[in-house]
Amino acid sequence: MNENQQKTTHFGYQTVAETDKASMVADVFHSVAAKYDVMNDLMSFGIHRLWKRQTIASSGVRKGHHVLDLAGGTGDLTAKFSQLVGETGQVVLGDINSSMLKVGREKLHNLGLVGNIDYVQMNAEALPFPDNSFDLITIAFGLRNVTDKDKALRSMYRILKPGGRLLVLEFSKPEHEVLSKAYDFYSFNLLPTMGKLVANDSESYKYLAESIRMHPDQDTLKAMMNEAGFEQTTYQNLTGGIVALHRGFKY
């Protein structure tokens, strides 16, 4: 048995070879890219917009800043950052998935947002930028799909400028038992059905629910960020902990 076969990771509730996860996640997002925005609004009842607003409010982004919107998908955060950094700033919309990048680029072009946005297909574990390049890195609903999260966090730390910050917006663990039960019922029963009806793809949305459960909870992720080198790491629970916004600085 060679070394690659021994290294495994989770893909939802399944255990798969580490080398296979990226392509399996890619398949999920190729499949949902076209209906991604509609499904986000439907699944979260539009609340994902408020979660993203909170991320921008916590970003401290200014004119001239360089921002990396990792796993930026269809560019919701990039659209706002592009305006806030102005013509002297730069936003890089990065995603491992070409279909998502394509949808994002088309959407932002249609909004008239051009000039200070670059689109780069990249793997969060090996970010193709020099050290100390960005004032801000955000990764919204993307970290749980990354195979080696520690490696990705270290990579983000490397390319952040001293004084820069990382914001991780991700599904997390609800704070209250009752909310957790209701959320479980919604995720495992209603969500795949909605996926089937709207995007004709229940498997991808089953993966979404499972991957959320396998993602580290608030305190574990905070510890992982500290381990990667981030300082003053804090998190803020949103909607009862269904989502958490982690924030860490590089000094």
């Binding site: 408020l50 921008i56 409010a57 004119k63 305006q83 806030l84 102005g86 949103l238």
Partner: protein, 204 residues
């Protein structure tokens, strides 16, 4: 999240005003990308307002990075609709301001001077003449509403003060205040006199 939702609604209204009043962008241009932090003391909330050149961005934030920060009660901040009040409120210690005063004045002046040409916007859907007529009708309805409101307020005050005697008349209130002030003065004088007598008594 509720605050976040309300802030998003306000941001939308501001951006709609920006679209409807074509001069607003020009007025805000000199303070583009400047961060104005507004602290509402009685709500214990901070809001960040930025004009990015295309849009206004409003966020509920705990960040403390700003070019200008104003802090005051909601009533004080509402008084800023009149830009001339800004320096007066600062002198009265009702408003704290840190950073570049021009940014607060820039936003205040721009919002105070919002002038939306409603007939022109209505005309896109209705045509010129009906839009003008609709606008005149709305203005006249607003005037009538204001007059009715004034009349209703006056009638209600009259009813409560003179007929039902539920509340007192402002003149009575003023008289009561005057009497209270006089009584307070008398009590203070009496207190002084008693203290003097006690002192004399203890000296003997």
């Amino acid at each position: 999240m509720v605050t976040n939702f309300l802030v998003a609604m306000v941001e939308r209204i501001l951006n709609t005003s920006l679209k409807l009043d074509s001069t607003l962008s020009d007025k805000l241009a000199p303070i583009a990308h400047k961060h104005l932090l507004v602290e509402i003391r009685d709500w214990q909330q901070q809001f960040l307002l930025v004009f990015s050149g295309q849009q206004l961005h409003l966020y509920n934030t705990i960040e403390n990075q700003y070019d200008c920060m104003i802090s005051g009660d909601i009533d004080t901040l509402m008084a800023l609709q009149n830009p001339a009040m800004l320096t007066q409120l600062i002198r009265q210690d009702k408003l704290d301001l840190q950073g570049d005063l021009n940014i607060a004045q820039g936003f205040s002046n721009a919002f105070a001077a919002i002038d939306i040409d409603w007939p022109e916007h209505f005309a896109r859907y209705l045509g010129d003449a009906p839009a003008q007529q609709l606008w005149q009708s709305l203005k006249s309805a607003q005037k009538k509403g204001q007059t009715a409101d004034k009349k209703l307020t006056a009638t209600l005050s009259h009813l409560c003060q003179d007929e039902l005697k539920v509340t007192i008349h402002p003149i009575e209130l003023e008289q009561f205040k005057q009497h209270t002030r006089q009584l307070k003065g008398n009590v203070a004088q009496l207190e002084q006199r008693i203290n003097r007598l006690r002192q004399n008594h203890s000296n003997q």
